[in-house]
Amino acid sequence: MDLGDSAAEAAFRAELRDWIEANCPDELRGGDARDQHAFEAASRRWLGTLARAGYAGVTWPVRCGGQGLSQVYGAIVLEELARSAAPPHIGLVGLNMCGPTLIAFGTEEQQGRHLPQLLTGEEIWCQGFSEPGAGSDLAALRMRADFRGDRIVLNGQKVWSSFAHAADFCLLLARSDPESSGHRGLTMLILDMHAPGAEVRPIRQLTGEPEFNEIFLTGAELPAANVIGPVGEGWRVAMTTLLHERGTLGVALTAALEYNVARLVELACMADDDGRRAADDPLLRDRIARELIELAALRTTNLRALSNLVDSGVPGPEGSVVKLRWSEANRRVTALGQELLGVDGLLAGSDAPLGAFWQYQQLRSLGNTIEAGTSEVLRGIVAERVLGLPRSR
């Protein structure tokens, strides 16, 4: 058991930290509420900068444009980026979910065509899984994919797709066998978002920002060569995507929580005009200490999960635990930040203190217990797949 960075890991981390310090654009730092379009453009350029320096997809195989390094190095990159509050936001779906799915199931041609662009931010990807009738029960999805010769024709609706408004491609799960139901008869596809018949309508989130979208597909076509994995085996492919979403994302999420907790400590330690600090109130001290402990527990659990991942190559059930507890912790931490602001916490936009950081983070955190599997669904996964309790459905 050894928790410390090895000499090589420590050197890699130090070099990366300096590099981020020197190269990260200011408009990406801080995670405040900001002009969404400018932010997305900057985020895309940042991905390119990361890729040129060799810091995007470090765990990907070399033939896929990566560095072929172990998951530990991937975690170091995610941690350091989140600590500087400059995650490659808009590229996260592509880097953490679509890329690994292509690496696991894509043809050589698909990998060569998409992975390098995905790394540099030249291609932004979104995930098209959820539908109006298929949320937690993803297998209820109805998006039709009809094979006509070497073409596939799509009809149906996707919803809640993050960054679809900015995306060039979509990892799309659709029903290729119209007679089928449930997990069978699904196929995973690569959809060009610029294809005729694909329409994206942004949905304004409760934060005020339109980060997720509806996707309407009416007769949109794609070549049959865009199938990922075997036809009819889309469920198996999708489960790999979700494992990566819940697994590797844990490190990024926890690092983001670490950033929020550090800001909370900073806020609590700020003296008011009478020289008083929130950090001197015993009840608040206890609440903050609890979050410091939870954060340390999540960080260390990620390290354990990583050690296992290096062995097996597949994220384990720890991912569900980290996602569950992280999302709840982030809600508490951001709510506490906003609470410390008092009535100032009611101010929004440019009238708000600290760039509306706490207002935005608190509202955004309400999505954390829903996206990538609701907390109820994650508890169900733990109960059934880890503890072996009988299925509730």
Partner: protein
């Protein structure tokens, strides 16, 4: 970085788990607790025979020269098994202090004498002949006094705070305690002779290290309790049927058990991290120990409470092991610093500028 137990560490844990499961079925535990001695000396001899008392002690005193990482793997098992013997008190609290007197440490490692540590009291010491000092005063609420032969005593002398080894004797009263697997007692000293382990004024570092070790050790036992309470709850949820179905089908039953699993995994991370930090001499090891103890103790109590609720009335009986697990967990929660006190220490380290987040 590689944060997994090595094959040797896993073997050690499995060996202890198998032994304690075989030796301490619930009826045997109840019989031991009802016996006049109230604890399991034959099992103690067996643990000593396997070299478990001295795992983390230097080879010079008969130990295995391993570390706290190995100890927490063993302590998870002594917690899960509700071991009615002073393993934590002897091996983790007393023995490292006894190592100042190799012959005393050797005797402890051999299993010939059990020990505990008494650090809260009003004992005064004055020199007698040679290495011997005379101790006077009262030490209340000493953990495991019911099963300890010797007591390591912290007291005050002209030169400051010191540490002494009292091999036997003193007026002892073992108290009736909620957790009968770890009985508390009062020790009155009226001029008994004890051997000095740390001279007055020179005990500070040893006592600070002992406090950190105690917290990590208690947290590791809490981990075992959490695991056992969860296993019992899951087993019951799978086998008990109501309304024609196994009750684990109902999410109101299943989800609290999933929460216990999440607690268990997070607690395990904190305990292993703290043990590693102590062994590696990390400067923040004390903070890690406080975090581990605060989290793991709360988790253990909550795990028992949830499991009792899943069991309903059968879990509310004296015969059921859950009542023993709950009481041991409640004891762990207050020994070595309550959660509130530990979190106050953590807050002071971080909010008052004395420590770092990383």
């Amino acid at each position: 970085m590689d944060f997994r137990p090595t094959p040797e560490q896993t073997m050690l844990r499995d060996q202890v788990r198998e032994l304690l499961t075989a030796r301490l079925p619930h009826e045997r535990l109840e019989a031991v607790l009802a016996s006049p001695a109230g604890w399991d000396r034959p099992l103690w001899q067996e643990l000593a025979g396997l070299g478990l008392i001295g795992i983390a002690l230097p080879e010079a005193v008969g130990g295995a020269g391993l570390g706290l990482v190995e100890e927490v793997l063993v302590l998870e098992e002594t917690g899960a098994a509700l071991l009615p013997a002073p393993y934590l008190a002897t091996a983790l609290l007393a023995a490292p202090l006894l190592a100042a007197r190799p012959e005393l440490a050797q005797e402890a490692v051999s299993g010939a004498r059990t020990w505990t540590l008494a650090r809260e009291g009003d004992v005064t010491a004055e020199p007698a002949a040679g290495d011997a000092w005379r101790l006077r005063g009262t030490l209340p609420l000493i953990p495991d006094l019911g099963s300890a032969d010797g007591v390591v005593v912290v007291g005050q002398a002209a030169g400051g705070v010191g540490i002494w080894a009292l091999r036997e004797g003193g007026r002892r009263a073992v108290l009736d305690t909620t957790d009968e697997t770890r009985r508390l007692g009062v020790l009155e000293l009226d001029g008994e002779e004890a051997i000095v382990l740390a001279a007055p004024g020179e005990a500070g570092a040893a006592l600070a290290a002992a406090r950190i070790r105690a917290r990590v050790a208690l947290a590791a036992e809490a981990l075992g309790i959490t695991r056992r309470a969860l296993d019992l709850g899951v087993e019951h949820a799978r086998t008990r049927t109501q309304f024609g179905k196994a009750i684990g089908v109902y999410q109101a039953v299943a989800h609290p058990l999933a929460d216990t699993y999440a607690d268990l995994e997070l607690a395990r991370s904190l305990v292993w991290r703290a043990a590693w930090a102590v062994d590696a001499g990390e400067p923040d090891a004390g903070l890690d120990a406080a975090m581990a103890k605060s989290f793991a103790a709360d988790a253990a109590v909550a795990a028992c409470e949830r499991s009792i609720q899943v069991h309903a009335s059968i879990g509310f009986t004296w015969e059921h092991p859950l009542q023993r697990l709950l009481k041991r967990a409640q004891g762990i929660a207050v020994l070595g610093g309550s959660g509130v006190a530990l979190r106050a220490e953590i807050a002071a380290a971080v909010l008052d500028g004395a420590g770092t987040l990383e």
